[in-house]
């Protein structure tokens, strides 16, 4: 399988910090990759380079064979994105918001089905400002799934969700991979990584410290043990 998502020797610095310091990893179509690491490890910067929101200083990233920086609308239509901060306008209600986002795509996923599956109808009269964290997560996830994307970037998709909703979201994410999408999930939850991921990439201090299948990375231990042994002391 070739990589739908490729990160090669990626470097990205800001004024005083090096956020990503020579990271390389890849993710294939039809799989879920969990990207783990402490805050400040460079996960979000890496994913933002893959989403075309940041430009690498050195190295390269490619998504579906395309450099995402400055890629055109048809490329962006193949990539679903859920940002950490949600990116939802605070004064809007979920359905008009999702409807106008669906209009950005030639053949979006059926909105009613998504809304029903994510239980959004229960709070359709609520503005984003008044939604709970979990409700916002569900709307943001619906927005990411709308394009029926070939590549899906999800930043902490189940943070703030109750246990039932988490399982529903995991089922949805697995279904996306089953229909062939390359899914990259950034998470702090070991349970999420172990339930969802085919591959695990652990970053610390801007570098990749583990990269492999879930079992390879675990090596017979718990993911949590491996994570702490690899990342303790590396966090900045």
């Amino acid at each position: 399988m070739t990589g739908a998502v490729l990160v090669r020797e990626l470097r990205r610095s800001f004024a005083t910090t090096t956020a990503v310091d020579g990271a390389s990893w890849s993710a294939a179509a039809g799989t879920v990759t969990a990207l783990l690491g402490p805050n400040g490890a460079g996960k979000t910067t890496t994913v933002e380079c893959l989403e075309g929101l940041q430009r690498p200083d050195a190295g390269s990233v490619s998504v579906l064979g395309v450099d995402p920086w400055g890629a055109g609308p048809d490329h962006r239509a193949r990539v679903g994105v859920m940002l950490q901060e949600g990116g939802l306008p605070t004064t809007s209600r979920p359905l008009p918001l999702l409807r106008h986002l669906a209009a950005q795509y030639a053949a979006p996923a059926p909105l009613d089905e998504l809304v029903a599956r994510l239980g959004i109808g229960a709070f359709e009269r609520t503005t984003v400002r008044r939604m709970s964290g979990g409700q916002r997560q569900r709307v943001a996830l619906a927005a990411a799934l709308l394009p029926r994307p070939d590549v899906l970037f999800l930043d902490e998709p189940t943070a703030g969700l109750d246990p039932h909703a988490r399982i529903e979201v995991w089922d949805l994410v697995r279904a996306e991979a089953s229909r062939g999408a390359c899914v990259v999930v950034t998470t702090h939850s070991f349970e999420e990584a172990e339930r969802l991921a085919d591959r695990v990439v652990i970053m610390a201090a801007g570098r990749v410290v583990a990269d492999g299948s879930l079992d390879e990375v675990r090596g017979g231990r718990s993911l949590e043990d491996v994570y702490f042994s690899l990342t303790t002391g590396a966090a900045r």
Partner: protein
Amino acid sequence: MSTTSSARPAAAPPRQRVLARASFETRVLLANGEQLLVAVVLPALALVGLALASVPDLGPGARVDLATAGALALAVVSTAFTGQAIATGFDRRAGVLRLLGTTPLGRGGLLAAKCLAVLSVLAIQVVVLVALGAALGARPEAGGILPLLVSLLLGGGAFVALALLLAGTLRAEAVLAVANLVWVLLLGLGVLVPTALLPGALGTVAAVLPSGALGDAVRTAFVDGGWPWPQWAVLVGWGVVAGLSARRWFRWGD
């Protein structure tokens, strides 16, 4: 989802993308109470107040015509500048601009949609204010309609560019404060009262500000049916400088 993987996902045509976003933004603007207050109610109050009072001096011409022209200029500043700066500033902080940057709409599409949304709201404001002015007896020059529309468009363009410059460079709270403060300051700098009637150097300064240029341009067109070329030049100048600056310094994320 029960969808089978078929053709690769594609973007909707550009026209559909921009129209969908423009109609979304228009509805957000119209559904926002504070926004409506600033966009319609305050200019309408200014119109009625100025038309019925005898101070301040609005210069030569029918007072109700001058009041209507001033209210139209104020409506442009409200929607194109204050409203748009605040909406964009808060969207930027919430990550909305970044999320839209990852959709097929993109940044160019977003700018086009914002301009269309502002124009739509502006059209509503113009209809309401002109009708109100007419009810109070305003009789604009028929020959002034075309230069009036040009003035409103150029003023709208310059103020949207200024709004984006502000919204893209400051924190959301600072945008809120500055946009409201500027609205109040510009009110006295040529929007409602002709710059020629402002005291001393203030008039000279106001005439080269977008507020004075817009106010004077709308008055020239609406009241005299004239073509205000110098004021248009000032508005184009502000639009170009603010537009280029926004392009250079606008930050899409916080």
